[in-house]
């Protein structure tokens, strides 16, 4: 492991020297150098500490929660949920505000969200951090349909939450204008929110930045599903045994003092101690996604009275064992969930809807005409993002034209704490009124 590390660092050093020696790159823009050429390594390892942008380690935050559905009865199995938690990092003076929407399964305080919060706080913004509509807390407390993934509906939910959050804090801060960003799934949802805001004008967003969005939701989840399955010996039915083995392997790398956290972020963090072998890294990305999607499936299943994995009408309480269900969700790919539960639900609400229609609807192409003329919306992406199918990056380029900033490396959101990328993001929002 040590030798692998050394080899990597040597390579990094060499590359760094090469870049340094090329004066052409140093022209106007800072040169972008990212140490991981492998997109899976980039995604899992992110920017190494030594290369990271400096952000404050702690910013003053205020935690609060919003209740879009105060009348809704929360099932006893979710006894620990009470409203949708959000945070505000407030500037003492009048400043622009930015909403950040988390990626799939990520909460408002996940490491990536904290990084973005600190980046924008340092750049002088009030920051409101929002959990992804795919988190259990959002599905249970803040989603109208309680079936996330249908982007126009997700946008409605998010828009409602943003307005409630703004209501809660507007007495305490002075805001000059509103901005919006999100990464991964949060980015594509932000695009739909921006479109909604174009009509409703609750915020009249000054600028919106989409960071590593999928081009098509279905295409990206299929890829994420495959990443796990490609590497599971014995096939999909053995996923949980496999997870068990991977987890022991991961726990092995963690230090004695370190307590495991139970999130995809933990999996990523533990994996950083591994030599970057692509097949294993790929599996980890797939595994993290599967953990998030299991949580999502359980929440939608329970909120709709069961029928997918939990038999309809089964009472679940804080003392019910969920192990059996957990294993079943874990064995279920998101694509299977899409065909067996998600699509039938939306079809029931909209008779005549076909699967290809729904799949096409859940993409940036669907709102391309809007995006093409929306001068205030920018795209930040990586050429080698692992959630994009071949060719999709070009589709995005076509839609956004000169408003697309695409870095050659960085994987999926692996470079969000890279100084050059951080500079791009803050510059994007600091430029005076785009409209």
């Amino acid at each position: 492991m040590n030798r692998d590390r050394q080899t990597i660092w040597l390579a990094v050093l060499l590359l760094a020297l090469c870049c340094y020696g090329t004066p052409v790159l140093a022209a106007e823009e800072e040169p972008y150098f990212f140490p991981f050429v492998n997109p899976y390594a980039a995604t899992v390892m992110e920017t190494p500490q030594a290369f990271q942008a400096e952000v404050p380690t702690e910013v003053p935050v205020r935690n609060f929660s919003v209740q879009p559905y105060p009348q809704r009865t929360i099932p006893p199995v979710f006894w620990y949920l009470d409203g949708l938690p959000c945070t505000l990092a407030a500037q003492p003076q009048r400043a622009p505000l930015i909403f950040i929407v988390a990626g799939t399964g990520a909460r408002y305080n996940s490491p990536k969200m904290l990084n973005l919060q600190r980046v924008f706080y340092k750049a002088g913004f009030h920051v409101i951090s929002l959990s992804s509509p795919t988190t259990v807390e959002f599905i249970v407390t803040a989603s109208a349909a309680m079936m996330p993934g249908n982007l126009p509906d997700d946008a409605q939910d998010l828009y409602r939450v943003m307005q409630l959050a703004w209501e809660k804090v507007k007495g305490d801060i002075e805001v000059s204008r509103f901005n919006l960003t999100g990464y991964s799934l949060g980015a594509i949802q932000s695009a739909f929110v921006a479109q909604l805001d174009e009509r409703e004008k609750a915020f009249d967003f000054n600028k919106v930045l989409l960071v590593n969005p999928p081009a098509s939701l279905y295409s990206s989840v299929s890829r994420l599903d495959q990443m796990l399955l490609a590497d599971v010996p014995g096939g999909a039915g053995r996923v949980d045994l496999f997870v068990h083995n991977v987890m022991s392997k991961l726990a092995d790398t963690m230090e004695d003092s370190e307590t495991p956290e139970l999130s995809s972020e933990y999996i990523y963090r533990a994996a950083r101690r591994f030599p970057p072998r692509e097949d294993f890294l790929k599996t980890l990305v797939g595994l993290a996604f599967r953990l998030d999607s299991s949580n999502l499936m359980f929440a939608t299943d329970v909120m709709h009275g069961g029928g997918f994995v939990v038999p309809a009408g089964t009472p679940l309480t804080s003392s019910t064992s969920l192990q059996g269900y957990f294993s079943t969700y874990f064995d279920t790919g998101f694509v299977d969930y899409f065909h067996e539960y998600f699509f039938p639900y939306w079809q029931q609400r909209e008779p005549g809807l076909s699967e290809p229609q729904l799949i096409a609807r859940l993409s940036l192409k669907e709102i391309a005409p809007y995006l093409q003329q929306a001068a205030n919306i920018g795209l930040l992406h990586n050429e080698d993002d692992i959630i994009l199918a071949p060719g999709e990056i070009d589709t995005l380029r076509e839609i956004f034209g000169t408003r697309a900033k695409i870095y050659p490396t960085g994987g999926h959101c692996g470079n969000l704490n890279h100084p050059v990328v951080v500079r791009f993001m803050t510059d994007f929002f600091q430029q005076e009124d785009a409209r």
């Binding site: 068990h244 069961g306 997918f308 038999p311 969920l322």
Partner: protein, 245 residues
């Protein structure tokens, strides 16, 4: 304090252990779309016969955190400057070396025991009663982590049923016995001379706050509705791993 916790757990266990935690599926429920894989190997290999009580304790710990421990930790951090907090952690760790050395000796790990003994001597003297950790900093003597639960595991004792202890969190019968034994040993050796002073309550309170302060885990911070199951799996694996080291 530890003993009371353990005793009350045992008592509650006896009272409530008979109840089942399996979901009560209505008889007329149509089969769900996805049925559990019957032949699939499940993660449920960790024995958890007291799951109902455990889940109750898990829930209580969440409230204990919200209404007592975390507010105390916040106040503690607000009052003390960071270097002082670090000093307290070091000093408590230093006293803990006694437990570690005993268990290393019980496992006949003499090289490790030597390291820990050197740490205790260096840190208690040069480190000013353990407030600093020069042993790690200047002598490269790393802190080991041993307890009687690990000693039992070392000699082949299995986990026994999984337990969630009030205040202490995830455990199992073996590790709970270990915790009790370590506690009794501490009381017997009485390194801080509690028999002749009144500082024991202050000491245990400080130890509890310091432990919680250093523990980053937050109940339901994972965002997973399967957190109980995941904690059970990871706790068990981590203990196995520590024992094998």
């Amino acid at each position: 304090m530890k003993r009371i916790g353990v005793l009350s757990t045992v008592l509650i266990l006896l009272l409530l252990s008979a109840c089942s935690t399996a979901p009560r599926v209505p008889h007329n429920a149509p089969p769900p779309i996805r049925l559990p894989q019957i032949d699939g190997v499940t993660l449920n290999e960790i024995s958890d016969p007291f799951e109902r009580v455990n889940r109750f304790a898990y829930r209580c710990n969440r409230y204990l955190d919200d209404y007592l421990l975390l507010p105390l930790v916040r106040a503690y951090r607000f009052v003390l400057p960071d270097p002082v907090e670090q000093g307290v952690s070091n000093a408590l760790d230093n006293i803990g070396e006694i437990r570690i050395i005993t268990n290393e000796l019980l496992q006949l790990k003499f090289a490790k025991a030597e390291t820990s003994t050197s740490r205790l001597v260096i840190n208690s003297t040069i480190g000013l009663l353990g407030l600093w950790d020069p042993a790690a900093k200047h002598f490269n003597l790393r802190r080991q982590e041993e307890d009687f639960g690990q000693t039992l595991g070392h000699y082949g004792v299995g986990h026994g049923p999984y337990l969630v202890l009030p205040l202490f969190g995830p455990s199992n019968l073996r590790d709970t016995s270990g915790l009790t034994a370590d506690g009794l040993m501490f009381v017997t050796l009485d390194p801080l001379n509690f028999d002749h002073n009144e500082l024991d309550l202050a000491f245990y309170s400080l130890e509890t706050i310091d432990t919680r302060k250093r523990e980053s885990f937050r109940y339901f911070g994972s965002g997973s509705p399967f957190e109980y199951e995941l904690v059970r799996m990871i706790y068990t694996q981590q203990r196995d791993l520590k024992i094998s080291r």
